[in-house]
């Protein structure tokens, strides 16, 4: 009688994939027979260890009987359950307050901080009917009714006359930078660029509310924030050209991926929203660091990035673990070509803040002063509470997504024109400054001329500067600790390039030409033992 057990009789190769058995692909398993009868009485092997791994749970409590307890008859049930036939709990009513008083006493209430028992099925899909958008100035730069001008500078009042125009200076500078670099990409002088157009107020306003010790995580369209923080035009141009003065990324990152540790600006990463959990981590680090109490993180992201899992991961982490962080959403209406109506069905990004227990505000992203005010308050809340605060700035992306994009394929050119004419953040701020007599047309003319000259000078300079040393390609792959050696795989590659350069660097025309573009013309890798800078 053959055993019905599925036991192979002759396992000649098992599954060990040696080179030979992998070559033939043959795995010989001979079964004695198919299963024909009831399963054999084989001791189960997976779950034989029955040692309890946790404390046994108590026996279930028997269900109560259907007859009401005597106590129910002893005293009459509390009356105010219904009033004039209205449902059990009217918000703000007596019954609600009574119910709320004891709401946290029941373990079932843990995790929902404002809930109470209700006999009526209360469906909802918004915490507020609509979330208002905070603004200080209207489209023409007039103060909105009820709004207050923000304190125009932080500490020193006398400084305000300089501070405000300095914001305006950055805001007017960035379109010129954008234009020059955008055109240079079109001419093939750099590989890639992203414009900030339309979002000058959101980025500059928020950056202006931050302090020097703060950390900044950008998405990629925040060059205005970076410039306002003190990044020089030369540094910006150098990054885009990846030349020898590109200290932040040493020519290793594509254009607009800025990095500036001294300004607290973290390296831009290309994958969307990865900066968000990292910002939560940086905020947590600030929370732990006694020397940095009072510092804050600001993390920029777009409406599209808010659809990434990392957005939810980051807000979840930050809200639970804490750490001062401003989540600044630039809701510019588009994720490349996807309009917001195809991006989410809820009430913007702001509606998600309360879901994570974060203080949240929606702000007119084209109003510099409103953004400044809101972010300044957000910063105060974040730092004092060591927690996250969400700011959704409503704005409009006037430029294309990037140089790889042509937005006229998915939106009307008139729509873009309308935005840039009717609701232009720069015009709005200028109108305000002019109305205060802090700015005038001659000043504007001088400023723009100066901007243009500076940008062109910086552009020309950055383009002409040589590329970093060739050996930089192999540096910083791994950090090398004290007494440690650079991994052999790096040295070998370096030596290989050096050897090839020695052999062909002078005789092969393309290489001979190319070498000249680099500092030291490749000599630094040609020492051949692979060592070097």
């Amino acid at each position: 009688m053959p055993s019905p057990c599925l036991r192979p009789t002759a396992v000649t190769t098992k599954y060990a994939l040696s080179r030979r058995s992998a070559g033939t692909g043959a795995i010989i398993i001979a079964y004695r027979s198919l299963i024909t009868g009831p399963p054999p009485n084989i001791t189960p092997t997976h779950h034989t260890h029955t040692t309890p791994t946790s404390t046994p749970l108590p026996q279930p409590v028997p269900l109560p009987t259907f007859s009401p307890p005597l106590s129910a008859f002893a005293q009459a049930p509390p009356q105010p359950h219904t009033q004039d036939g209205k449902p059990l709990y009217v918000p703000g009513g007596q019954a609600e307050r009574a119910a709320r008083a004891g709401r946290m006493s029941s373990p079932l209430r843990r995790g929902s901080h404002e809930s109470w028992w209700s006999g009526s099925m209360g469906w909802f899909n918004a915490v507020a009917k609509t979330i208002p958008t905070y603004r200080v100035l209207d489209e023409e730069g007039h103060l909105v009714k009820g709004a207050e001008l923000p304190e125009l500078c932080y500490a020193e009042r006398w400084y305000s006359c300089f501070r405000l125009p300095s914001r305006y200076r950055t805001m007017t500078l960035i379109p010129i930078v954008d234009n020059v670099l955008y055109q240079s990409q079109r001419q093939g002088r750099i590989s890639f660029y992203m414009q900030c157009a339309g979002e000058e107020a959101a980025t500059v306003g928020s950056s202006a509310a931050m302090l020097p010790g703060d950390e900044m995580f950008g998405q990629y369209r925040e060059q205005a924030a970076l410039l306002h923080r003190g990044f020089t035009l030369d540094a910006l141009m150098s990054q885009c050209f990846g030349n020898v003065e590109d200290k932040g990324t040493k020519g290793r990152m594509m254009p607009v991926h800025y990095s500036s540790p001294e300004l607290g600006f973290h390296t831009i990463t290309s994958p969307l929203a990865t900066q968000m959990p990292q910002a939560a981590g940086a905020a947590y680090a600030l929370k732990l660091d006694e020397d940095r109490q009072g510092d804050c993180v600001i993390c920029y992201f777009g409406d599209g990035a808010a659809s990434e899992g990392d957005f939810h991961a980051a807000l979840g982490m930050n809200s639970v673990l804490g750490g001062p962080c401003i989540w600044f959403c630039r809701n510019n209406g588009f994720a490349i070509s996807t309009p917001i109506i195809d991006q989410y069905a809820g009430d913007g990004i702001a509606s998600r803040g309360p879901a994570y227990g974060l203080d949240t505000i929606r702000v007119d992203g084209n109003d510099t002063l409103a953004v400044l005010s809101a972010v300044r308050e957000a910063r105060r809340r974040a730092v004092s509470g060591k927690k996250g605060v969400l700011v959704e700035a409503m704005t409009y992306r006037v430029g294309h997504h990037s140089t790889s994009d042509d937005s006229s394929m998915y939106r009307r050119v008139e729509e873009v024109k309308e935005w840039s004419v009717v609701d232009n953040p720069i015009h709005r701020f200028r109108a305000f400054l002019v109305s205060k007599k802090w700015w005038s047309e001659p000043e504007e003319k001088t400023l723009l001329a100066k901007h243009k000259a500076e940008v062109m000078r910086s552009f020309g300079r950055a383009e002409k500067l040589p590329k970093p040393k060739l050996g930089e390609m192999f540096n910083d792959v791994w950090g090398v600790g004290k007494g440690e050696e650079v991994p052999a795989v790096i040295m070998e590659q370096r030596a290989e390039l050096g050897r090839l350069l020695k052999k062909y660097g002078d005789v092969w025309e393309p290489w001979r030409r190319e070498r000249k573009r680099f500092v030291e013309e490749g000599e630094d890798v040609m020492d051949c033992d692979g060592r070097g800078s």
Binding site: Y15, A16, H46, H257, M276, Y284, V320, G479
Partner: protein, 404 residues
């Protein structure tokens, strides 16, 4: 900002118990610890385990929780080694902290972080929400801001949800930031096939992370490996993927006094010749070191074949020099791993040997012994066939030498 050393009172341990104190347990403590052996050392995990063979090193019944000096030989489980390594590093450096799912109150799904919450408090041993991409990203962000996080994944299988943070941000930021912003983070957790947990829990990620420049990858075997290399990983300025093996957690290994000292650190990127031999070089890592050593012992006894067993310890940087020297001596190379065959660690080693001067010394084509090229099946009999064990290794080695 990145270079600023975070020194804060918050980061200091709640109890200043030294790691050594916890290791030298009293008789009473070790008696109570031995009670926990069955429950904690082997069966504290969410899955029941199956011991696959009567392996010499898988001495489940006799294992101890902590170092003991019975019969003059000190032994230590891998779990204890990892735990003590983290504790010592947290005492040594205030910027080190641990985060992950269930690492604090529950002591970790596999009890690796046992007792650390009590010693260091909630700010340094952090239970996070269950979002792999979230806490891995947080760990990267905290590392970029000057701390040294140890990020525990319940298993590396779940780290797939955070692989972007590990590879794209952790592994590349130092290079991308022009060498200005280091990312000293340690990602750790159990890796490779466990027992009876099927396809989505049984995968070896050495080849995955080993292929990324900028990451260091460690696959330790013994208690000493785990202690020395985890301490090195935490001190390293780079992001390190520390790939442990769940089935080894409860296994005891003899440890020397030196290996128990606070200063014991093993260099990353150096392999160890676990057993010297002259006939064939076996390159292996993690749990397969156990099987390879058993197979080597068996072959030596029965057929007099002298196998040289190299425990890789680090997958990246790969210590190819040790392998080259060994192959030049033995003229034969067989790699053994618990991962899939395609594009694996064995494939890489053989390719590098074939490109090296050692190629001319080979008397036979090098061979790989790996897991089967199928998602790991659940059924015990099938799962058993899906991975190499002592018998398979012995059989292949014999054939490699005798039948070629």
């Amino acid at each position: 900002m990145a270079t600023r050393a975070a020194v804060s009172r918050v980061l200091r341990p709640v109890a200043s118990a030294s790691a050594r104190a916890s290791l030298s347990t009293t008789a009473a403590a070790s008696a109570s610890a031995s009670k926990l052996v069955g429950r904690n050392a082997l069966l504290s995990t969410p899955v029941a385990r199956v011991s696959r063979s009567e392996a010499k090193f898988l001495v489940g019944a006799e294992q101890r929780r902590s170092a003991s000096s019975d019969e003059g030989v000190q032994t230590m489980t891998v779990r204890e080694a990892l735990n003590s390594a983290m504790e010592e590093e947290m005492l040594r450096d205030e910027t080190v902290f641990i985060m992950g799912e269930e690492v604090a109150r529950y002591n970790g799904a596999y009890k690796i972080t046992k007792g650390l919450l009590d010693k260091f408090g909630e700010d340094r041993v952090i239970d996070t929400p269950i979002t792999e991409s979230g806490f891995a990203g947080m760990a990267v962000g905290a590392a970029l801001s000057g701390l040294r996080p140890v990020c525990e994944f319940m298993t590396w299988n779940f780290a797939m949800q955070a692989i972007d943070q590990i590879v794209n941000s952790g592994g590349k930021t130092y290079y991308m930031s022009g060498g200005n912003v280091p990312c000293p983070v340690t990602f750790r957790g159990p890796n490779g096939a466990a027992a009876g947990v099927a396809a989505q829990h049984s995968q070896d990620f050495c080849a995955w992370y080993g292929s990324v420049p900028g990451l260091k990858v460690i696959s330790p075997w013994s208690a000493a490996d785990c202690r020395g290399l985890l301490k090195a990983a935490i001190r390293d300025p780079n992001p390190v993927c520390f790939l442990e093996n769940e089935l080894l957690y409860g296994v005891s290994f003899p440890v020397t006094k030196e290996e128990l000292s606070d200063d014991f650190v093993l260099p990353i990127g150096k392999a160890k010749v676990e057993k010297e031999g002259s006939d064939v070089t076996v390159v292996t890592h993690s749990k397969m070191v156990t099987h390879s050593l058993e197979a080597a012992e068996h072959l030596e006894k029965t057929e007099g074949i002298k196998v040289e067993v190299i425990n890789l310890r680090s997958i990246r940087p790969l210590d190819i020099e040790t392998i080259i020297q060994s192959v030049k001596k033995t003229n034969h190379l067989v790699t053994v791993e618990g991962g899939f065959p395609a594009f694996g660690v064995g494939s890489e080693i053989i390719a590098q040997i074939c490109e090296s001067p050692a190629f001319d010394f080979l008397d036979a084509p090098p061979e790989r012994i790996t897991g089967a090229d199928v998602p790991t099946p659940y059924s015990e009999s099938l799962e058993h066939m899906a991975f190499p064990d002592t018998d398979v290794i012995a059989k292949v080695l014999r054939r490699h030498l005798c039948e070629w």
